[in-house]
């Protein structure tokens, strides 16, 4: 496997994604599902989780486009390039683009999900028989409303199970008409249209009006491709017209005549020589799930592999029940570690077994701190005295020791280091600490005393009442920088706001924690700010809150923060 230069990776494990648009080749629910399964390939073997966003900016923005689709790497029509993605980072970094000149399926021909009918949205079954005749695609036979339908079992005659196939007469997607079907004819720029069109667009997407006059109502939607629709060419989405004439000869099926690349094509009118309207015939297509799983590998930080069976091998090849290759697993776990959870029954050769927690007899939420430090293994600490960020790195304090987790790169925690060696004036148990954003002074709290370190020099210990905290406060359990000169100090179920400049508590405090920070434990024994999020810890769990004060993650301190 390869990673990108500098081991580019996400600096958080809950990665977000957003689907910006859809391909007309498959029902949007099939596309949603294919992407979700493609992400699951990676979340199954790492601590990563993937959350779908429906608005705003996500880490991984997913879109379909054709040829020049807005970045410096145009696609190339049908086949050839299928998709590409960018390594983790801001902006276009992390995004995944899929070539919509391809025929997107589940890898084995048209993936046709039905709507309405009596099959509850089941997929078409091809071939199926109807009135003794076999059909390999949707048909309008047996109906007068020209709606294409299919059987969802091998025999409609026997089972009478059916559903309607994708058709612009049934629904549209995207646009601003909430999926309403097309209205034909419709007026657009004073011209009448009796089928979907790409007129007025430069992205090649077929659309229609959902009222009879777009100029007046401005209501539109994109047209789903019918399963018999041609791909690419100059008639995308139109069905083949059989028979058709080509070079004076009549054809009743797709042909590769006239081409040097052997691809099957057909005319979408009865006379190609006259109208020159054509497209490629539907083939097995490309599995959106497989290609997406590969592209998301890039979006997570994997480059191409030279192992032919690996998912990250650059060439596409359809695999039925797809297993992630060991090479892919080693690559992604090099970046993000393995998935926490029960120890593997038999550890993989030459890989460390994951740390398992000692079976504690006491209640896991016991508040009596364990006096004995587990044999220097931070991963076995059930509850740290305090956690905070100093010089950008996370610091975990426990009984006279501390560990550091660099905020960049994948290195695991460093330590244990000795508190007394780094800050000689401090006691063994630190209740909370924070680094003042402006002055870089580090405040340490233990019981009712506090110390202020400026580099190697120290001021203290002094009583916390000096800051204006009431003598009822027995210890400060959390500190949260707010802006450049305010810090929230947490104790019990309340918090106070300290003005660092005046070294005094602001008026109007304390406030109950749960009133302002809803959804987190109000008896958290540790609170700190890290990478734009606020963490509330209780024992080995943390509740993470984003800048909008929404709890967007609950996880394990040891796995997610200490990177055990």
């Amino acid at each position: 496997y390869q990673t990108f230069d500098g081991d580019l990776k996400w600096d958080h494990s809950d990665v977000t994604y957003r689907i910006l648009n859809y391909s007309p080749d498959m029902d949007s629910s099939l596309i949603d599902d294919a992407f979700a399964r493609a992400f699951k390939v990676w979340s199954d073997v790492t601590p990563l989780s993937f959350t779908r966003l429906f608005e705003g900016t996500a880490d991984i923005m997913i879109s379909f486009g054709k040829t020049d689709h807005g970045d410096p790497y145009p696609f190339d029509g049908k086949d050839g390039l299928l998709a590409h993605a960018y390594p983790p980072g801001e902006g276009v970094q992390g995004d995944a683009h899929f070539d919509d000149d391809e025929f997107w399926t589940l890898g084995k021909g048209p993936a046709v999900k039905t709507r309405y009918g009596n099959a509850n949205g089941a997929m078409c079954h091809f071939p199926f028989t109807f009135e003794g005749k076999s059909y390999t695609s949707c048909t309008t036979e047996g109906r007068t409303d020209n709606l294409p339908w299919c059987a969802t079992t091998a025999s409609y005659d026997a089972d009478k199970e059916y559903g309607f196939c994708p058709s612009e007469l049934l629904y549209t997607f995207g646009g601003n008409a909430d999926g309403a079907p097309c209205v034909f004819p419709f007026i657009f720029l004073d011209k009448e249209y009796s089928s979907c069109t790409t007129e007025g667009r430069n992205d090649g997407n077929r659309w229609c009006a959902t009222t009879n006059n777009y100029d007046k109502d401005k209501k539109y939607g994109f047209c789903p491709s019918r399963d018999t629709a041609v791909i690419g060419g100059n008639s995308e989405g139109e069905p083949c017209h059989f028979p058709f004439v080509f070079l004076g000869k009549e054809y009743n099926s797709c042909t590769s005549e006239g081409r040097g690349d052997g691809k099957l094509w057909c005319s979408t009118t009865e006379d190609y020589d006259e109208d020159k309207k054509w497209g490629f015939c539907p083939d097995q297509g490309y599995s959106l799930f497989l290609v997406a799983a590969h592209e998301f590998g890039h979006a997570l930080g994997l480059d191409h592999s030279s192992v032919r069976d690996a998912l990250m091998y650059p060439m596409y090849s359809y695999k039925e029940n797809f297993p992630l290759h060991q090479d892919d697993i080693e690559g992604i776990q090099y970046l993000y570690g393995s998935k926490p959870g029960p120890k593997p029954t038999v550890p993989e050769p030459n890989t460390p077994t994951t740390t398992s927690y000692p079976e504690t007899t006491d209640d896991p939420f016991s508040t009596t701190p364990s006096t004995k430090l587990p044999d220097n293994d931070a991963c076995k600490v059930l509850k740290f005295d305090t956690i905070t960020v100093i010089e950008g790195d996370l610091h975990f304090f426990k009984n006279g020791h501390y560990w550091k987790v660099p905020s960049r790169g994948d290195a695991r925690h460093q330590g244990p280091l000795s508190i007394s060696e780094s800050w000689p004036a401090l006691p063994a148990v630190i209740d909370s600490a924070f680094e003042d954003v402006l002055t870089k002074k580090i405040y340490f709290f233990s019981g009712t005393r506090f110390w202020v370190y400026t580099g190697k020099s120290v001021l203290g210990p002094r009583s916390i009442e000096k800051l204006g905290l009431p003598n009822s406060v027995q210890k400060v359990e959390g500190a949260l920088q707010k802006g450049t000169s305010k810090v929230l100090l947490f104790s019990g179920e309340d918090f106070w706001r300290l003005d660092v400049k005046t070294q005094k508590i602001d008026r109007g405090y304390p406030k109950p924690t749960e009133v302002v920070f809803g959804g987190v434990p109000n008896d958290a024994h540790d609170v700190f700010q890290y990478k734009g999020h606020t963490y509330f810890c209780r024992d080995r769990f943390y509740w993470r809150m984003n800048s909008r004060r929404q709890v967007d993650r609950v996880g394990y301190v040891n796995y997610d923060l200490l990177k055990c």
């Binding site: 390869q2 990108f4 230069d5 040829t67 790497y73 696609f75 190339d76 029509g77 049908k78 086949d79 050839g80 390039l81 299928l82 998709a83 590409h84 993605a85 391809e102 690419g232 060419g233 100059n234 070079l247 005549e257 006239g258 081409r259 040097g260 690349d261 094509w265 020159k276 054509w278 490309y286 290609v291 590969h294 592209e295 890039h298 480059d303 191409h304 030279s306 032919r308 650059p314 060439m315 596409y316």
Partner: protein, 89 residues
């Protein structure tokens, strides 16, 4: 026996034309996927760098490393694939 129908190749409107020679297709491919840098080189240098680049491609794809544009390598170049370069850049 009827004479085999002489295949007539037509240009389809809207088709993405790829009428490149094999060598042009190969050079395009090697540059696009990072096996060969895109700066122009003199004739001889270009031959050497193409041969070296072909060997790198053949190694990446698990083909015999001949440095020549043989049938297997051409076929591999026509395979559908991901657009991300193979050689990190």
């Amino acid at each position: 026996w009827s004479l085999p129908v002489k295949s007539v190749f037509v240009t389809f409107p809207g088709d993405i034309i790829r009428n490149m020679t094999d060598m042009e297709l190969a050079e395009n491919y090697l540059k696009r996927f990072g096996y060969m840098d895109t700066l122009q080189r003199s004739g001889f240098q270009s031959m050497v760098s193409t041969e070296k680049a072909l060997k790198r491609l053949q190694r990446q794809l698990g083909l015999e490393e001949t440095g020549e544009l043989n049938k297997e390598t051409l076929e591999a170049m026509n395979q559908p694939r991901c657009g991300v370069p193979d050689v990190a850049n």
